[in-house]
């Protein structure tokens, strides 16, 4: 074997070591990332006495007389001593308040995703066709609005809701959500990448704007619309700021806010409720991950 070959082999071996090392590091990192999710799920299958025993020192439950051994420090377990669905049973059939809040979350999030995407698809088409100076100025204003945190936008939202008399109704959450500029911005960027020739060709053939929009533009943007819908869903499913300010009536609160108000007596239910709340986004994530990744990839570069 000549020297060159030897060197090549050696280098390849080092590369292999490196790959193994990086892979192991990545696995450890990934494990840390997944740990909280896994723990929440496995803990939801524990009996309430097991949860009190494990986490009693943290949540200090006084479970009916409480003849339960409470360890001083938490006792983390991946696998429950005995798998039980009793927590789920209680949540689903005996404690309607959680289901009502879950229903609230759906009733806020689903219409917001649908209407925001509908309005945004139209607007994005408007922005991406017949560029003009005025449109650019307006689009810039949308970007500024999109960047503003809730700490800024909630004040105007509150004033409008008050003026319209919709404070403490679902409309105060719905309406600002419908017109949020986030989806408009992302979809416009998506539509600007459609080659103009495609649309020009249709236009020359005599197709009207609505026809071009619905028959040519929409099919080309399906992926983008799906991915942005997913992002908007995650964001509103997770809402905390708006209900705290716009809804003083806690009956109207979504589960995202209510879950933290669970009292210590029901702490054993909390994991099951948390998992139930996690299910819709989890399913969307599992089915839509490729769309999501593609959609995020399109976003980079704020100038575009």
């Amino acid at each position: 074997m000549n020297l060159l070959q030897k060197m090549y082999k050696r280098r390849k071996r080092i590369d292999n070591y490196k790959t193994v090392l990086v892979t192991v590091a990545a696995f450890i990192f990934a494990f840390i990332f997944l740990l909280p999710i896994i723990l929440t799920i496995t803990n939801s299958f524990m009996s309430s006495s097991e949860i009190s025993a494990n986490y009693g020192s943290i949540f200090a439950t006084t479970e009916k007389g409480g003849k339960i051994f409470i360890s001083k420090t938490v006792n983390l377990k991946f696998i429950p001593d005995m798998v039980t669905f009793s927590q789920y049973f209680t949540v689903l059939f005996k404690s309607p308040q959680y289901l009502i809040k879950f229903w609230n979350s759906i009733i806020y999030t689903v219409p917001i995703v649908a209407v925001q995407l509908g309005i945004a698809t139209l607007a994005a088409y408007g922005f991406s066709r017949y560029d003009s100076k005025v449109k650019r100025v307006i689009f810039f204003a949308y970007i500024i609005m999109m960047l503003m945190p809730y700490q800024v936008t909630l004040v105007p939202n509150f004033l409008v809701s008050k003026a319209l008399g919709i404070i403490d109704t679902r409309w105060s959450i719905w309406l600002p959500g419908f017109f949020s500029p986030f989806a408009v911005y992302l979809l416009t960027k998506f539509m600007r990448r459609i080659p103009t020739e495609v649309i020009e060709a249709a236009s020359i053939d005599g197709a009207g704007e609505w026809y071009i929009f619905s028959r040519i533009n929409m099919p080309l943007c399906k992926g983008g619309i799906a991915s942005i819908a997913i992002l908007v869903f995650f964001d509103f499913w997770n809402m905390v700021e708006q209900p705290l300010i716009l809804l003083t009536n806690t009956d109207l609160h979504p589960l995202s806010v209510f879950l933290s108000k669970i009292n210590s007596g029901e702490i054993s239910l909390a994991f099951a409720v948390a998992v139930i709340y996690l299910v819709p986004p989890l399913l969307i994530f599992l089915y839509g991950e490729d769309y999501l990744v593609e959609g995020i990839s399109y976003q980079g570069g704020i100038k575009g």
């Binding site: 997944l34 949540f59 408007g126 945190p149 905390v240 976003q299 570069g301």
Partner: protein, 288 residues
């Protein structure tokens, strides 16, 4: 009207629903906010100039909340950018199971904060997991969420949630760097460091800007974690601007709210403008 002009008009019809909504729910009330920030109260409506601003600016709670929020953002955002860039670079190298890793790192994005705060509490409580772990090395127990170390926890939670999203942005940007350029660099015996700093980072500059801005926006949402774990009254080091706003909403002090919102509006706009200017300067000779 020419045919083209007519079509231009039609394109405005598509914009109409969005623009009407945005005017009604964001722009018009924002004008009212500006107006409210300059009057003494909504009943007397006496013009007071910048008195409300000076008032808010000198308010101790506002200063505390503002400083805490800024401190958090200045710690969390650079870390979020650097670590996710590092992750993306790792994902770009030859490792197996790439698509699994991608899913794992992205998964926290979908987890609602409310579903996960229980586990955070189990971890960071005085009797919690993290203390059990650090005790193995002889460290003293800390009540993480109630100490001045609470910051570290919140930064960690923020990174956990946002790294995956940023990583995807960087991965797609890294993939779009022209291959010829990297080949030329390899032929010219450029070191890995040179390739990284002189080619990749420059090509990434617009993505770095985007990631920084998105991380900044998301850093204001960390209130969710803080609120759901510690409620209305956290330790002073975790008293954020959203807490201040909530309390001011509760007292219905419109002038204070309005002035505070506008100060924040100006600060956020200024921050974004500065980032934009830096990127323009650094990446100006790169097509991207």
């Amino acid at each position: 009207m020419s045919a083209n002009e007519k079509k231009g008009m039609i394109s405005w019809l598509f914009l109409l629903p969005s623009i009407v909504g945005v005017l009604l729910f964001f722009v018009a009330p924002f004008m009212v906010v500006i107006y409210y920030s300059m009057i003494n109260n909504p009943i007397q409506k006496r013009f007071v100039g910048f008195a409300n601003y000076i008032n808010v600016w000198g308010n101790d709670a506002f200063k505390l909340a503002g400083m805490n929020t800024l401190k958090f953002s200045f710690m969390a955002v650079p870390l979020a950018v650097l670590l996710s860039l590092f992750l993306a670079a790792v994902m770009e190298s030859r490792i197996p199971f790439k698509s699994y890793f991608r899913s794992f790192f992205l998964s926290p994005l979908m987890v609602p904060t409310a579903s996960i705060v229980l586990i955070w509490q189990v971890m960071f409580h005085y009797n919690g997991l993290v203390n059990n772990f650090t005790a193995l090395f002889g460290a003293d127990k800390i009540d993480w969420l109630k100490s001045d170390k609470a910051y570290i926890v919140i930064v960690a939670l923020f990174l956990w949630k946002n790294l995956g999203y940023n990583m995807i942005l960087f991965m797609s940007a890294l993939a779009s760097i022209p291959k010829e350029l990297l080949e030329v660099a390899a032929l010219e015996n450029a070191s890995k460091m040179q390739v990284f700093w002189l080619i990749k980072v420059r090509y990434l500059s617009s993505t770095i800007l985007f990631v920084t801005i998105m991380s900044l926006i998301n850093s204001f949402k960390v209130f969710r974690e803080v609120y759901l774990m510690t409620g209305d009254y956290p330790v002073t080091s975790l008293y954020l601007l959203q807490h201040f706003m909530n309390n001011t909403f509760a007292s219905l002090d419109y002038q204070k709210l309005s002035a505070a919102a506008i100060i924040m509006f100006i600060v956020v706009t200024a921050l974004v403008y500065v980032m934009y200017a830096v990127e323009n300067f650094y990446g100006k000779d790169v097509e991207g």
